[in-house]
């Protein structure tokens, strides 16, 4: 069959097909009155298979490239309408937080301990070193930053020093900074895991140095009552961001029986779910840090108790949640 006859025979079908795709892609009907009536939605799959066959015929008969491009485009658009993933619902979010996320953490328990070591060992080491020799802090922080750090935790300030507006400002800052750091830790994993490991060690060193210094300076109550509340969520969040990142790195370094790209793709699909759980943990941490930790009217004992409960909750959540079938 000659190309023109083929075109004439199917032109009306293709127009109705394209009109249906326009509606599906843009929601409402376009105002163009000249458009033919669209194909009923129920007939789209059958019409799509027919179009695929017409495309194959047109290719094997070597019809002109412009016709092939046109049919290819129609088939591609219909393919994207038919083969889309299921739409996520709120139920899926809930299930993710109550079961899927802790299950994924447990599945990567080995990586979790590696990341915990990469974070807590530098933290403890640096903390002890700076506690013994407080001047070491100057190898990490400028004199101005040290002065800021001291001013933040100097005893004697009252609750009046921070009002609701500044709590909100700090909440915004913790969201922007802490979750951003978590995401960067994850992203750095794709560089053979080096970026994630670096971020874990760096965070450990800085947090350890600040803790050691403030302890040596004797700001014990102001500092530890501040970090007690959100510590469990934030520190665990940092370690888990490292887990998500090292998953990517390990997939590239040791892909096993698949290609490196394929192995990276599979690891990324799990890793992105981990990092979403991390983001949820860090939002919770930022909320506690901005609105609870900063409140100096709460007695120290209550803050320490809340901190202990936080650690208990995090460990119970990560070890127990999602063990029973829903």
């Amino acid at each position: 069959m000659k190309q023109r006859r083929f075109e004439r025979r199917h032109a009306a079908d293709w127009q109705a097909f394209a009109a249906r795709l326009d509606r599906l892609e843009h929601g409402a009907a376009p105002r163009n009155a000249a458009q033919p009536a669209p194909l009923p939605v129920a007939e789209l799959p059958a019409a799509y298979r027919q179009l695929c066959q017409q495309l194959a015929i047109a290719r094997s008969r070597r019809y002109g490239r412009s016709l092939l491009a046109r049919l290819n485009q129609l088939a591609l658009r219909a393919y994207q309408q038919l083969y889309r993933g299921p739409q996520r619902r709120w139920q899926a979010v809930l299930r993710f937080l109550t079961a899927d996320f802790p299950q994924r953490v447990r599945a990567d328990a080995g990586l979790f301990w590696v990341c915990a070591a990469l974070f807590y060992l530098p933290l403890l080491g640096m903390g002890l070193a700076v506690h013994q020799a407080p001047e070491l802090i100057h190898s990490l922080l400028s004199p101005e930053s040290v002065a800021d750090l001291e001013a933040m935790y100097a005893p004697g300030k009252t609750a009046a020093d921070r009002d609701a507006a500044s709590d909100l400002a700090m909440f915004g800052y913790y969201i922007y900074n802490n979750i951003g750091l978590g995401f960067r830790t994850f992203a750095g994993g794709v560089l053979l895991g080096i970026g994630s490991a670096f971020m874990l060690v760096l965070n450990g060193v800085f947090i350890g140095a600040a803790s050691g210094y403030l302890t040596a300076r004797g700001f014990i109550e102001t500092f530890y009552t501040f970090i007690a509340g959100h510590g469990a969520f934030e520190l665990t969040g940092i370690v888990l961001a490292g887990v998500a990142g090292l998953k990517l790195g390990w997939a590239v370094v040791a892909p096993g029986r698949s290609s490196r790209v394929e192995s990276l793709r599979q690891a990324a699909s799990g890793g992105v779910r981990l990092i979403l759980g991390v983001a949820a943990l860090l939002v919770l941490a930022a909320f506690i840090e901005a609105f609870w930790s900063s409140n100096r009217t709460i007695p120290a004992d209550i803050k320490y108790a809340a901190g202990a409960i936080g650690w208990l909750l995090v460990s119970l959540y990560l070890t127990r949640a999602g063990r029973r079938a829903p």
């Binding site: 190309q3 892609e25 066959q53 490239r65 491009a69 915004g172 994850f186």
Partner: protein
């Protein structure tokens, strides 16, 4: 005689569908994507600047809200558009680009998040250094985020269709032609209208041995054969 066209060095990615037909996707290169990124940056930071001015009336608390907006924009602006606006941020839309899975299906949330969170790694060490290196190392121009997410950036629309061969006499070719040769001749007839006359003649001269015609009459003869081949002689 005419040679069948060899495999071309092009940027077409072929995807086989469950219906057993191959679809071709035109993958977009670094320049178009960088322009789209620039347009998106203008939109993002323009909007953030406006928001900063508007939230300034709220003083410190307003700044906190703005930082949250900054965080959301920095990490989720592209993913949001890629999932809910047909695979394209406003910048990509302006450049006629869209993001899809490498198998041709629309991007979903996990893939959009992976490619946009890993943007932070692509950006290293300076200004998308790793991203560009990765793009130049694979034939689908995927940056690290695309490789991990299994996505590609393609041109949304096919190139503009060439004009149809104007009506005129139709002549059967002087000898039987293979399908590949027929396609080549039709493509020439369609594309010739977008070429200048000297170039049309130059290309038609390649077949002067077969047509035994020179100059513009040679071009006309090839168009007549093309009309006959597509069936325009009704």
């Amino acid at each position: 005689m005419l040679q069948p066209t060899p495999a071309l060095l092009d940027t077409i990615r072929r995807v086989e569908t469950p219906e057993g037909v191959e679809l071709s996707l035109r993958v977009a290169g670094p320049v178009a994507r960088a322009l789209a990124w620039g347009a998106d940056s203008l939109i993002k930071y323009g909007a953030l600047w406006g928001l900063l001015m508007a939230l300034a009336v709220l003083d410190q608390g307003g700044f906190g809200l703005w930082l949250i907006a900054l965080f959301l924009t920095e990490w989720f602006y592209p993913a949001l558009f890629e999932v809910y606006a047909g695979g394209a941020t406003p910048g990509k839309k302006a450049l006629g680009l869209k993001v899809i899975h490498a198998d041709g299906t629309p991007v979903d949330w996990p893939a959009a998040l992976i490619r946009n969170l890993l943007r932070a790694a692509d950006f290293l060490p300076v200004f998308y250094g790793f991203g560009l290196t990765a793009m130049l190392c694979n034939r689908d121009f995927q940056r690290l985020g695309d490789l991990a997410a299994g996505t590609v950036v393609i041109y949304r629309d096919p190139p503009a269709a060439p004009p149809r061969v104007p009506p005129g006499p139709a002549l059967p070719p002087p000898f039987p032609m293979s399908p590949a040769e027929q396609q080549l001749l039709i493509d020439f007839a369609e594309r010739s209208l977008t070429l200048n006359p000297a170039r049309q003649v130059e290309l038609a001269e390649l077949l002067a041995d077969a047509t035994r015609l020179h100059g513009i009459t040679g071009v006309e003869r090839l168009r007549a054969h093309a009309r006959w081949l597509v069936g325009d002689h009704a």
